[in-house]
Amino acid sequence: MKPLHLIPDDVNVPFLKFRKIFYIVSLVMVLASVGMFVTKGLNFGIDFRGGILVEIKTNGPANIGGLRDNLGSLGLGDISIQEFGEPDDVLIQLQRQDGDEKAQMEALAQVTAALGDDVTIRRSELVGPKVGGELKEAGFYSVVISLLLIMIYIWFRFEWQFAVASVVALLHDVLITIGFFVITGVQFDLATLAAVLTVAGYSINDTVVVFDRIREYLRKFRKMEIPDLLDLSINSTLSRTTMTSFTTLLALMALFAFGGEAIRGFTMALIFGIVIGTYSSICVASPLLVVLRLKRKIPEAEEGTEVKA
């Protein structure tokens, strides 16, 4: 049996020719994401906002309206009540209560008392104002620090143009993934933050593979124009880029469909981020090298030994 090739072996797409279009598309997406983030903001979950979350299982399909009346009468502010995956599974979320941690505790006690014994409490989470603030801070630092470390690593391994281009691509992916959360209104919590960081790792992974090839070809094809060389590098790694993204997406699809409601937001972030990451490593990171005026550096010592065309 002849193995199936997702990408034909002699593929030759002139990506660099379209780079202006890619820049515009990416710029629009990034600006839209940032704009929406500033104006609309993320739908923060209780991890960052503080508050209470209770997941219950009812006997038979849940009466959401009844629950809303019942819990709404407690006077605990905004309560969100929604079906969670199954008709008899309900997710109740309360905003952070005014006052200190004790006020949160009392609100949780009130809610569990009001729910009574007819329902099974499957999960209850309470995040006080103090911890919510701290988690937000830690989350912010974790994003900044990992971006920084990755940048340092790339800088260490490649020339500075590569480092800048990969970090731009990385920021591009992270910002657009966050934009995805803003637009869809999917809750942003600790798990989705972890997903964003994983996207960062994946995106750079993808970019590095192409860059490695560019570096190799820079040594190998000494007479080729840089844009042609970039195109050649992208095309010869295109099969790998799509294969890996595809297998990763296959696994994530299984997780999305069967992994349960609790990690759906997390999986969604990963799926979206991997699609964006694949796009950026092909269409954003490498073309950027032209903008950054990547030049051939011919290390004297390596000359001759590395050339084996």
Binding site: M1, P3, L4, H5, E55, K57, E101, M105, L108, A109, T120, R122, R123, S124, E125, L126, G128, K130, V131, L135, S142, I145, S146, L149, I150, Y153, R157, L190, A194, L197, T198, G201, I204, N205, D206, V208, V209, D212, R213, E216, S236, R240, M243, T244, F246, T247, T248, L250, A251, L252, A254, L255, A257, F258, G259, G260, A262, I263, T267, L270
Partner: protein, 524 residues
């Protein structure tokens, strides 16, 4: 070189064999192996609270109140000394920063300062003009807090142990926090109830000269205070608060035992004092017959029975409108002892056993399906080489399980997601290698040359690509909490083991195949 030396091949196989052996307990019923020796196989992956069900609570000890109390006592000590020297003074309310005393006559200030300086070691004396401000130095302050936390941990441990669940974990976190994790707990509200209370119990005499209402109207007699009543019986009778003497008659520290029991068919709590407490209790109850004895728990009067006769044996009961559960909890709290300072629950995450099982089942289905998809796709894309990559992929999963079992890393729901993600990403190294072999082959290299070049050239790319993902995983591990740490752990382990299985194992498999069947064409 495609050629494998014997010892290299043995090493690869040995790692695989060890992986299988250490991962095996996860597929067998628990307890199949003895688990005493930590380096022997037999341990299963430990499941996080989100998968096995249970409660996680982050508590903060109010260290300010510990300091405040100490400064109160310190101010008392200094004032006693000042009084001996007949230096008139006025105290200020102590804060957690220090004790402040105002000396009335300026002439006495110097002497008073000297006294304050020698009252206790490790203190700094400051303050301007007539005011003297005493505080502990950093070292003493830290020691005080450390002691309070250590004591709190001990009390919390005793309380949680009373719940009778298996393997609760109680750990200090940062300066003044602790994390309590109780697996397999059905009812987190019970844990909340017993952790949220200081359980400081003291016995005071009810003031006989006035009622609380009179005192509110005409002023408190010296040495008394008003405390609210928490007794439902009192409330029914219209009593809302008590005027009681400040002086503690017997303190809860003297309690040695407490049990829930019944009196006249109603749940009550019995208690027993140690010798000193029993003697004092006997003394007071003999002298103050007819007066009320207020039992004060955390600033509320839970019961204030009249003393009818001397209680000499050191035993007593607390009556009140308790439910059976409340009587159980109160006796538990009294047995375990009081916390040195109030605690607050900053964060709670509880998962019922049902949800945990559902999550495990969902995670298993997702992992198996993801695996099947990827395996099928690899075979479709790379034929024989895909099969080798698939063998490596399964080996990788086994290695992840083995490493997690040995390290006793916790598997959480996001951790399962990390494993599924690893399934997708682990084949990346093989994809890189195979694509490279394909290219080299179409560039006209011989079979062995192409394979060899494929592995060699893909190496640095694989390393770069994996290290960047590893960086993200490590940052996640150090910043993330609980479940997220679990994700970082499986992701990191998966990346590292995949480098072994995708590079060395597939290489051994391919080398063996090439050697045995000497293929004349590569179908890849």
């Amino acid at each position: 070189m495609l050629y494998f030396t014997k010892w290299k091949a043995t090493l690869v196989l040995l790692v695989c064999a060890l992986g299988v052996i250490y991962a095996a307990p996860n597929f067998l019923p628990s307890g199949t192996f003895p688990t005493e020796a930590s380096y022997l196989p037999g341990k299963q992956v430990s499941l996080g609270l989100d998968l096995r069900g249970g409660s996680h609570m982050l508590l903060e000890v109010d260290t300010d109140s510990v300091l405040r109390e100490r400064y109160d006592a310190l101010a008392d000590t200094i004032r006693t000394e000042l009084r001996k020297e007949q230096i008139r003074n006025r105290p200020r309310e102590a804060t957690s920063n220090g004790a402040e005393i105002t000396v009335l006559k300026p002439a006495d200030v110097e002497k008073a300062r000297e006294i304050a300086r020698t009252a206790e070691p490790n203190t700094d004396v400051g303050g301007e003009g007539n005011s003297i401000f005493v505080s502990y130095n950093e070292l003493a302050r830290k020691e005080l807090i450390d002691r309070a936390i250590a004591q709190s941990l001990e009390v919390v441990r005793r309380r949680v142990d009373e719940l009778g669940t298996t393997e609760p974990s109680i750990q200090r976190q940062g300066e003044n926090r602790m994390v309590v994790q109780v697996p397999g707990l059905d009812d987190p509200s019970r844990l909340r109830a017993i952790l949220g209370r200081t359980a400081k119990m003291n016995f005071h005499l009810v003031n006989a000269t006035k009622t609380a209402a009179d005192a509110r109207a005409t002023g408190l007699p010296p040495g008394t205070m008003i405390l609210p009543s928490a007794d439902a019986g009192d409330r029914a009778a219209g009593i809302r608060e008590y005027l009681i003497d400040r002086r503690v008659v017997v303190s809860g520290d003297n309690l040695v035992d407490s049990q829930p029991t019944f009196s006249d068919g109603r749940p009550v709590v019995s208690f027993r004092f140690d010798a000193a407490g029993g003697a004092r209790f006997g003394d007071v109850t003999s002298k103050s017959a007819g007066r009320g004895l207020a039992i004060v728990l955390d600033g509320e009067v839970i019961s204030a029975p009249r003393i009818n006769e001397p209680i000499l044996g050191g035993n007593g009961i607390i009556t009140g409108q308790f439910s059976v559960q409340e009587a159980n909890d109160l006796s538990l709290l009294l047995r375990a002892g009081a916390l040195p300072a109030p605690m607050q629950i900053l964060e709670e995450r509880s998962v019922g056993p049902g949800l945990g099982q559902d999550s495990v089942a969902a995670g298993e289905i997702a992992a198996v399906l993801g695996l099947v998809f990827v395996i099928a796709f690899m075979v479709i894309s790379y034929g024989r080489f895909g099969v080798y990559a698939d063998i490596a992929l399964m080996m990788n999963l086994i290695l992840v399980l083995a490493v997690m079992s040995v390290l006793q890393a916790t598997l959480t729901l996001p951790g399962i997601a990390g494993i599924v993600l690893t399934v997708g990403m682990a084949v990346d190294a093989n994809v890189l290698i195979f694509e490279r072999i394909r290219e080299e082959r179409s560039n006209g290299r011989t079979i062995i040359n192409a394979i060899d070049a494929g592995y060699r050239s893909a190496m640095s790319t694989i390393l770069d690509a994996n290290i960047t993902t590893l960086i993200a995983a490590l940052v996640l591990f150090s910043f993330g909490s609980g479940p997220i740490k679990g994700f970082a752990v499986t992701l990191a382990i998966g990346i590292i083991t995949s480098m072994f299985s995708a590079i060395w194992l597939t290489r051994l498999l391919i080398a063996t195949w090439v050697k045995r069947s000497r293929p004349t064409e590569l179908v890849i």
